[in-house]
């Protein structure tokens, strides 16, 4: 059993991305091009790292789980926006699947938040200004990038974990991300579910170091992430 924290730290809706999202929507200031606003003041346990002044993911297994939590926050926020403002001529099946994926990413995000408890990093602010949510090409292209990135991130993070139970949890999530990636790829180009841009000549999927993942994900995050305390092997 994953036992990072006791039950005292159940998900706090006041700091959750979902809340900030709906609040923003409620305020009627949602623009596809602007960043989400979150209540940063509530992150009482977040350390400010001395590396780049960003949100410190922490060290050891906790740091790796926070790294995953950061990525899941990004993905969940993206799909929430996709379903909130569907692109033109979205098919019923695409909408159903993208809704499924949104729910999976929210489940992942909330899981990490609950499991990490007081050790969880704050809700992150995202920046989707580069995404045109009215365009199928832009949305699915971004989804493909996020899912492939997520797969490579989990694949690269497995070895950073010490506790085998956390490794199993990461394994339970990464294969679902790979299923997402395969479907999104096929939706863009039929038959591209595992083409040469995803799988190398040895039949292996990609794996990336946290720094490389965050360099890519960082373009979609307003909040800076400090991964300098993560384990490196």
């Amino acid at each position: 059993m994953l036992n990072i924290e006791s039950k005292e730290n159940q998900p706090d809706l006041e700091t959750g991305m979902a809340k900030s999202f709906s609040r923003r929507k409620f305020l009627g200031v949602m623009g596809a091009g602007s960043a989400l606003v979150v209540v940063a003041a509530s992150c009482k346990k977040t350390h400010i790292g001395n590396n780049n002044g960003g949100v410190d993911l922490g060290s050891g297994d906790i740091g790796v789980l926070n790294y995953a939590y950061a990525l899941e926050q990004l993905e969940a926020a993206f799909y929430m926006q996709v379903i909130s403002t569907p692109y033109s001529q979205i098919s019923d099946m695409e909408k159903a699947y993208l809704t499924d994926i949104r729910d999976h990413e929210i489940a992942h995000r909330e899981f990490f938040k609950a499991a990490l408890g007081s050790k969880a990093i704050q809700a992150l602010e995202v920046n989707f200004s580069a995404i045109d949510f009215t365009s199928r090409t832009s949305v699915l292209g971004t989804a493909k990038a996020f899912e492939d990135l997520g797969v490579s991130a989990y694949n690269g993070a497995g070895k950073l974990l010490v506790n085998p139970d956390y490794l199993t949890i990461a394994g339970k999530i990464v294969s679902v991300e790979a299923r997402h990636a395969a479907w999104v790829r096929d939706a863009i180009t039929p038959g591209s579910f595992a083409d040469m841009s995803a799988v190398n000549a040895m039949g292996l999927d990609m794996e990336r170091k946290p720094d490389d993942v965050l360099a890519i994900a960082g373009a979609f995050l307003k909040t800076k992430i400090n991964a300098s305390n993560l384990p490196t092997s």
């Binding site: 059993m1 994953l2 036992n3 159940q10 998900p11 809706l13 959750g16 979902a18 699947y97 499924d100 729910d103 999976h104 929210i106 489940a107 992942h108 909330e110 899981f111 938040k113 609950a114 499991a115 989990y154 694949n155 690269g156 497995g158 070895k159 974990l161 010490v162 085998p164 139970d165 490794l167 199993t168 949890i169 394994g171 339970k172 999530i173 990464v174 294969s175 679902v176 991300e177 790979a178 299923r179 997402h180 395969a182 479907w183 096929d186 039929p190 038959g191 579910f193 595992a194 083409d195 995803a198 799988v199 000549a201 040895m202 039949g203 292996l204 999927d205 990609m206 794996e207 092997s233």
Partner: protein, 283 residues
């Protein structure tokens, strides 16, 4: 030499030492039995053998890794041989369908080669199988596996979903070696991509899909989406909605159905479970 002090010292260092040896009382008994009448000088040896019992894992790390890689290689041989026959069967529609199964076949062959090389490099002996090692009818359960397209896709989907669960279950056995663990994870997610694609192929072809069941790229509850109970063991347990003690359904006040909660996490299978599933496919 004060035996009591030594044991206390060990107990302080490793509070679980007696769990490893059943109980403290049994440990003392077992130690007394073996060392009761031996000379004082021999005690360290007696202690040594007791520690071996307590600390030696049933399989040493290197052997565990090699066993795990060979188990993976066995599954890859099964899949590779299946797709070789599938692609050659002549019943797969040309175009996207045949192209996809060819891509998957090639990946499985690459996995076989990769694992063979890895096992050899690690000083092990790779297991070896040939086409005649397999019975893809699973002892008559799927007599038309290479003559009925729906059956072929159903078996393919089951192999991939099972493979994903198998790698997931074995990953902790590789945690002591970064390179093998990472490679196994890199194979694991490719199998998941295959599984997702095959599930979509089955949905589109609408063959052997039970009425009222929506086959999706992800696994909903314990639904195989296949109109036979013969594959059910590969899906049992996937309905799990509690992860590490955290209930995922409606987590954090979010509207997450049990179906979505089960889809969001794939579940591992043990080596024994996987072996039971694939054994009928070996001749």
């Amino acid at each position: 030499m004060n035996l009591q002090n030594i044991l206390t010292e060990i107990e302080n260092t490793d509070p679980e030492v007696y769990d490893r040896l059943d109980t403290r009382r049994n440990a003392m008994k077992s130690f007394a039995k073996t060392s009761g009448k031996i000379a004082l000088a021999a005690i360290p040896f007696a202690l040594g053998s007791m520690f071996q019992k307590a600390y030696a894992s049933p399989t040493a790390p290197k052997d565990l890794i090699l066993d795990t890689l060979n188990f993976a290689l066995t599954l890859e041989y099964l899949e590779a041989n299946f797709y070789i026959k599938a692609v050659a069967s002549g019943i797969i529609p040309s175009g996207d369908s045949l192209n996809s199964l060819t891509v998957i076949r090639d990946h499985e062959n690459e996995h076989v080669n990769f694992l063979k090389t890895a096992i050899t490099a690690a000083g092990g002996t790779p297991v070896s199988f040939t086409a005649s090692s397999f019975d893809f009818t699973a002892k008559g359960t799927f007599p038309n596996v290479f003559s009925d397209y729906g059956t072929l896709l159903a078996v393919a989907q089951t192999f991939e979903d099972t493979g994903v669960r198998a790698y997931k279950g074995q990953a902790p056995n590789l945690i002591s070696n970064n390179d093998y663990l990472t490679a196994a994870l890199q194979i694991h997610s490719v199998e998941a991509r295959h599984a997702a694609h095959l599930r979509e192929m089955r949905k589109m072809a609408n063959l052997l899909v039970p009425s009222g069941v929506d086959v999706k790229p992800w696994i909903t509850l314990n639904q195989s989406g296949i109109g036979t109970s013969a594959v059910q063991a590969s899906y049992n347990g996937e309905e799990n909605v509690t992860q590490a003690g955290v209930l995922i359904t409606n987590i954090g006040g979010q509207n997450i159905s049990a179906a979505a909660a089960s889809e969001a996490f794939d579940e591992p299978l043990s080596k024994e479970q996987v072996t039971a599933i694939v054994t009928p496919f070996f001749a």
